[in-house]
Symmetry: D3
């Protein structure tokens, strides 16, 4: 929602979402409020949460009616206690009531991701290890969910298939070896992009290192094996742990010395947090 | 995904989701597989689940490459044990690998909703009460999530603001009374649409009934009060329970005699279920 | 044209219509007027008419140039005598001349519908019967034409196939009976939607009533038979007369006691009324 | 609907029209027919008419479901007696019933224009004068309505503001004189385009001729004055009569010797003709 | 970029171009500048050139951020010496840096065309012959390139296949003769459009003249043969020279007396001129 | 044009380009050929060239009419002598003639880039240095032009602002130092992306190296200074030469030992090559 970089995809998503909810119009609100009636409302945290997505909520209301003004009172990434007024919106009552559900659906979902991410980040505190997200996101909402991860204190892995090469089993089989795969990929991608290789054993780690991989993913290894892998790599590449990471085991994994840990659950496993909108 | 009713919104959502993931292309796969390499893969349930969304997965692969053929082996709404092959897809390996993540993101999410819905439906078994969803859905995915609810055995409440009138607190305040609100709305909507009034106490229930409401929503009432409301209504309108319904209390709520119970959590509180894709 | 509910379909229609008329540009006007020349014009009724669509005309001019301001002088639904200035538009002369034809094409067409609708509404005066439109509208202009019907004093039937169920002959044959059809439909639609059954004889009326239809359409029946049907229904469902209704017979039909009469001709049979634009 | 020249505007119009009618789906048909049920239907003329728009109807059905096949039995421009089967469509019953209304709305409207145009063309028979349409068309449907005019035997004036220059009063005032206007426009348009000047008196006719106008429009002149104008022009430019032309006076106007007569009413004043669809 | 005639195609082109360059965002600039940082920059000619396309550059910056203001200091078509500040843009630094490359890519390309066109126009000085462009333009940029030709002092031939008829070899073969081709085309196009025939010898010139062609193209003829053709035509049609025209031979061609000379190289053979943007 | 990765941007570009050329249709061809006439044509090199873009030409014809079949006879990147038939297209004559100009505009432009790129690549033969393109491409055609560079034997630099970080003067000033800039960017981008720093002197080279830059751009340095920079860098980062590289000096620059040389002129300075289409 950076105003300097217009995001046609976000605009398309909001239009898609408005269309599915409004269809031919908000029958009830249009019948009972004139176009001239104005009002104000607050968005209120109904539980403790980490904030994300208020700018998307703002975009929903201003898309409905440019006369809406939306004031963000808590920045993305800040923790809000139960009862906190996160934002206020003024404007035509029709826009407020018609947009309420969609705005909340966005903010509750994204703040849920930020809140869960914060739990994982806290579990890593002091380890020097960085939490990453994955491509396991809701279709159409990836950039928003990745922004929510950042709000929660996490970092983003590649956005998609285009801003980083990731060599997996099937790729290695096709190329014949890790070395062949890395070489072939290197020749076909811009020099600004790194190559990561997914490894499930130490031989693959050594092969990847020898092939010049930039990042070595340690997939579903027990922490002790990861520690060995880190020793083998010895700073010649970055290391990333992945697979079956939970709040319970993430700190142990981090202590293996890996640079990054990626966790799919922070996006696909987060629940919506409770936020309501109250007309004032 | 009904082929008779083309769904431009679903096409737009898939394109949005492909664009966010593919961007300028799947660098790794394009480097390592030629356009001519063909393959096959199975989608496999990694836990017990209720199936939904396979047709959306099919649409992802055929959008990537019309040469893909996707064979659905388990119908929407059927329960699949761990290890079941849900579907098979044949086609260019590039399309299989490039589309894998997006197809899984859809199917895992939607089957998660179907699976959770099934739990609620089972809890209602024999009560004669119908489970409904709400408008608390993921922006852009409403129709898919509502189809997942049906796959799970639930029924759909109105799709949006356009196919049913729902009079809430703010609407009543604006109109001056429930009667005034119902009358005003009735005059402005097509005769094919019903009017529901959200009631938080029995006086509102009586007022709604007197005003000719078609459906009376009992919002956040304890089951005993709901039972009283049902007695008051006495079949002259339909009744719907809403608010803080959980798997623990839904059967008790149903026993109050309401016709419908609506539960937001079946869409916004479902977790993704585990499904993987394996190249054969 | 409700500013609170942005209407992407109306925007798409205006763009389609501007594109077909402007193509690569208004050659004559661009050659003879600079971008800086400003002017003003009035839209004038050349015959007595009921106004509709001025807001669409406004949207045409502001789409061409945001510097245009359009002042509506007669509200939708008001009657204007010959010579009345319906609206004034100020702005760049290029926009005024380039948009003139399209704005007039919209307003003349929609005011024509409003004017004809008013005739039918007057014929019903005092009968307590409500005039409805149909789905026989110009492709792409349905919402505008339905707004014109309201401007003329009529009411809207369902907007489309999505906001009301209408069971016709082919549906009944497929289901086996009216009862089966109503039951099947009831189970598959949201509880906020009503079911209407098209009946061509009194047996079908009784069957529909027994099946629990919400609205019974009396299709192409003579007024006396309609009166019998109304007696049979006896307030247990709403009744709608349809088929071959004209200004000559509509009052007689209404006296049969039906709740609604639907007339396709108010949309597909209205002629454009005469409105011109004069530069001042 | 020329398959060699894809028409993105027609596709957009059909999608707009399907969206306004289908919205979230044809509830009744989807409840009562499975996706697998196939059927066939005929489109039947319910009165004598000139055919136009069957290809648009075909596009509606195939847009709904590519499995539909539409067989046109009467070519555009042919006269069909009451009872004639104009076309047959086979395919999924869902697509047939869901698309019926939209297909008919198109074909009835366009055949109405073709039928009315034929009346005007007959009135001109033997005069050597050519009937033209105008820009007074339904927004978004211009190309379809212009094709209907051709089906009726008329010819098309310019499609829009881009494929011909038309100098009117306001343009002349701005330029200072007809000569100045013609000269300025000539210098700014491609050499492949002609210039027409709208004249309301014989002095303007002489000025236009002197200025080198390619076509001279005789606006709202009585036939005798037109005859004088034709004599003045003497074949050095083409002549077009315009304004208040009716079926009653068109032949008299033609006898003035003008090359073209343009009539707005053939598009904006045509009524829909009666065509129905019957499942077989 | 005429504000009175909104150009949806230009908007689409700019969005396409921004999307291909920005993708998921300007990583570097977003990391190092806040959304609040403002700045100013000048666009500076690094060589002598004829200006075109500054308005397109303005549209790029305001599309990125509506807070950008772009001041054009040299009008389209004016010659700028090396070192001239062509325009200044103020606004968020993010927008300035993110949009710099695309704005320059447009302006450098279009000013290159204007600059080359000016050379050809100078070569024609005093001959009374008009320089025309062709349809050999960059896909998607035709209108911009044709505006650049006008900025350079040239005139535009038809914009495309729709605003003028051009009969070539294949068309003549299909029709059987030039006369048949002209007659058939004349009957099927609006009366506001002219017909041009491409001739490669004097017989074709005579045939075209006899058939009533409005413009006769002399294709790839030596200047002496063109002079003969001009004598044959003798003002009864316009003449256009085409094929292998260079800066070296254009004046000789013009002296043959043709009305127009069309040159593809002014669009497809122009090099970008050097313009840079400097933050102040 | 990889069929496995649908490219909505290419489809949008082709539609934009068809719309600007076809507008309301190819008047001449539609008048003279029926929709049923079929034909075949060859695309023939009129000079020696390196092939690129034939697949885009194919997409043009099949977009016009799916009945077209396009057979590519020379692969992208192969050199074709004058007279070579590059491809053959069969299908409706209307589609062949209507699409001819656009298909040629694409292929001539892209083959021009491939041909020029080949010259630069030859000049680098044996040096071990890799030729890169830049972001100085035609707006909307970047991916096509980058594919043409690959066809010519070059490699692609980053596609845009999203797949690699490039720190320039203004970024360094904003951050305070190269070190600060690199650190800030590193923390905000995915771990799969590299950071390049633009250096204009050896101090900046040393600072970039110390800051951990992945790629060091040597901007506008004389070859001797580049050689020193390469010595300083000593393999700890990649090096890229940029600025004022021509066919005359590129080999000298390469001998400085840089890994990459980027040349804007291969995209913005290439001329179209001569290719024609002949009906058979």
């Amino acid at each position: 929602m950076n105003t300097t970089n217009p995001d046609p995809q976000l605009a398309a998503l909001i239009d898609l979402a408005l269309t599915e909810d409004l269809g031919s119009g908000d029958l009830t609100t249009n019948a009972l409020f004139t176009a001239r009636a104005n009002g104000a409302a607050g968005l209120i945290a109904r539980e403790s949460l980490v904030v994300s997505g208020l700018d998307v909520g703002a975009a929903v209301f201003t898309r409905l009616d440019q006369a809406c003004s939306f004031k963000i009172l808590t920045q993305d990434g800040s923790r809000a206690k139960q009862g906190t007024v996160l934002a206020r919106v003024h404007g035509p009552v029709r826009a407020l009531l018609t947009g309420e559900r969609l705005a909340l659906n966005f903010i509750r979902h994204l703040s849920g991701i930020a809140s869960l991410t914060r739990e994982y980040v806290k579990a890593l505190k002091g380890t020097g290890c960085t939490l990453l997200d994955t491509r396991k996101t809701t279709p159409g909402l990836r950039r928003l969910e990745k922004a929510a991860v950042r709000a929660g204190g996490g970092s983003n892995h590649r956005l998609g298939l285009f801003d980083g090469a990731m060599i997996k089993d099937n790729h290695i089989s096709a190329a014949g070896s890790i070395r062949a795969a890395v070489n072939t990929v290197r020749k076909s991608i811009p020099p600004t992009l790194k190559i990561e290789v997914e490894c499930s054993n130490l031989k693959q780690v050594r092969d990847s290192l020898a092939a010049g991989a930039d990042i070595i993913m340690l997939d579903n290894m027990p922490p002790e094996k990861m520690a060995k892998a880190v020793t083998i790599v010895n700073g010649q590449a970055a290391t990333e742990a992945s697979g079956n990471i939970t709040l319970n085991n993430i700190r142990a994994v981090a202590k293996s010395g890996v640079d990054f840990i990626s966790v799919g659950a922070i996006t696909h496993g987060a629940r919506s947090v409770d936020i309501s909108m109250e007309l004032e």
